[in-house]
Amino acid sequence: MIEVDKLSKTFTVHQKEPGLKASLKSLFVRKKITKHAVKEVSFRVEEGEIVGLVGANGAGKTTLVKMLAGIIHPSSGDARVLGDRPWKRSRSFTRQIALLMGQKAQLWWDLPAADSFLLLREIYQIPKEKFRASLDYLVSVLDAKEQLTIQVRRLSLGERMKMELIAALLHSPRVVYLDEPTLGLDLTAQRAIRDFILRYREAHRPAMILTSHYMEDIERLCKRILIIREGELVFDGPLDKVVQTYADHKVVTAHLHKQAEPVRETEELRAMGQVDACNDVLIRLRVPRPRVAEVAGELLKRYPVADLAIEEVDVGTIIERIIRARKEADTAALRP
């Protein structure tokens, strides 16, 4: 459904130093810099798949999504979405895709959402019966009936996001791009949006690309992730493989019976693993996978353990480490 082949995007931007003198100078001479927002990215997304696109701010996620939605043209490379080149914006392409931007309202701000939906019915030429059925389904799943007739600008962020989702999905797109769909929402609203996305995927089987800074979005919704760093794709694979491949250790936490003296970070403790915390109530160690059972036994034997937990490293931490590791490798490669 989505095929991306060595897609790149380069921007030329002006640079200006701070201060009045620099402002005056910039009226005559400007320093231009070339920014490689996306560098030769290749991947495929199949029908019914939700792929998480993760990376730091400015990594190139939104630029990539904008290219795949046909909003901006690439500098080089190629992409096919439903067989079309997105930036050609053919009618058949635009009728089958949707892009939801969490940080940008796409509905008509001064009108109730119901009016916007009627307009979208005309824009996408959705048959009346299909429109009614789609709207009823989306409104009931999102529990959004009450907000339909309220001016969009008067809705809360969570309510507005529900309306944005309805607007994006009314025409039953086969490809959906979700850019930070839960940004700024409270936990209840985040959960509601996540549940809805999963239900929608089950019912309609679209190909979806999701960008989010909330790891819970990625963990709940995506089986596969793409990690992008400074425009480059540095990982493409199953989410659980990230943990297996990059987390060579587990976190072992021993909750202790309260003691008069806090536990000291001794050589003996360091020999078990990397000490993340140790005090009078707990010991937390990062232990290499093969040694987890042995270290757990040692802790139980040597300390007054009340409870013991063995956990995988948080996915967000692993992703951060992948990004950092590549950066350090690049920096090392540049050193003379």
Partner: protein
């Protein structure tokens, strides 16, 4: 076509959903323009009985008419909307739709005509009672119909003339000054600042050939019965010709501009 009228309807509803803004825009802006026009006419006629074929009241009527026509032709503040969409990144949303952005924006401009027509109706009703029908002016249902046709073409021409200028925002981000320059030139050469009959005779062929006259002065001349049928027909043909030229230019600039678009602001 239903989509076109739906967009127009939405814009009309949007424009009239803020009552205070509507009345402030109607009373303050119109009152100011009318006051300025009154003092200009008073100054112009301090030592003359007739100027450019107009009596004092005839000239006042011309200014009232051109202020109202300009309000319809410009459709309030939509002449900035496209550049603003590009600058703010709001264009991205429209690029996702399977319809032409230009058509959507023109539909919105047509929608904005409804409140503009309400303003015209409110402020033109008293004119015949105050100024009467001055000498040399012919106001009939036929001239009103000619004016309406010319206003609709003027509205399209104004949209098509400002469209490629606004698209400069693809390159320059900020093209307000260009739009202001266009506005000033259009006000001068379109007959808003001064009736075109006051310009020197050597400039008349040029004024007739340029598009600005057909945006403002031409519909007013039609309304006041100052055009023969032949003059009206040739004027409409020139205006439609300019519409074609501007549409072709717009399409070319749009094609190039969207290659530059970065969607910044989203």
């Amino acid at each position: 076509m239903r989509l076109f009228w739906n967009i127009a309807g939405i814009e009309a509803r949007k424009r009239m959903s803020y009552r205070a803004d509507f009345w402030l825009n109607s009373l303050v802006a119109f009152g100011t323009e009318l006051g300025v026009a009154y003092f200009i006419v008073a100054a112009m006629f301090s030592g003359a009985d007739r100027l450019g074929g107009y009596s004092r009241n005839g000239m006042l009527l011309y200014y009232v008419a051109i202020i109202l026509v300009a309000r319809v032709v410009r459709s309030t503040d939509l002449e900035w909307a496209i550049a603003d969409d590009i600058y703010q990144g709001a264009l991205s949303r429209y690029l996702l739709y399977p319809v032409s952005y230009g058509v959507l924006k023109y539909a919105a401009q047509i929608g904005a005509l409804l409140p503009a027509f309400v303003q015209v109706a409110l402020f033109s009703a008293w004119v015949p009672f105050v100024l009467g029908i001055p000498e040399g002016i012919r106001l009939t249902p036929a001239t009103a119909a000619m004016c309406l046709g010319a206003v609709m073409v003027a509205n399209a021409l104004h949209f098509l003339m400002t469209y490629p200028i606004q698209l400069v925002a693809f390159w320059a981000d900020n093209c307000w000054n260009l739009l202001i320059a266009h506005r000033l030139v259009a006000m001068l050469l379109g007959g808003i600042l001064l009736p075109l009959s006051l310009f020197p005779s050597w400039s008349q062929p040029l004024l007739n050939a340029l598009p600005f006259r057909y945006m403002f002065a031409f519909p007013v001349d039609a309304l006041l019965g100052r055009l023969s049928v032949a003059e009206y027909a040739s004027g409409m043909a020139i205006a439609l010709g300019w519409c074609g030229v501007a549409a072709m230019l717009s399409a070319a600039v749009w094609r190039r501009g969207t290659l530059q678009y970065t969607g910044v602001g989203m």
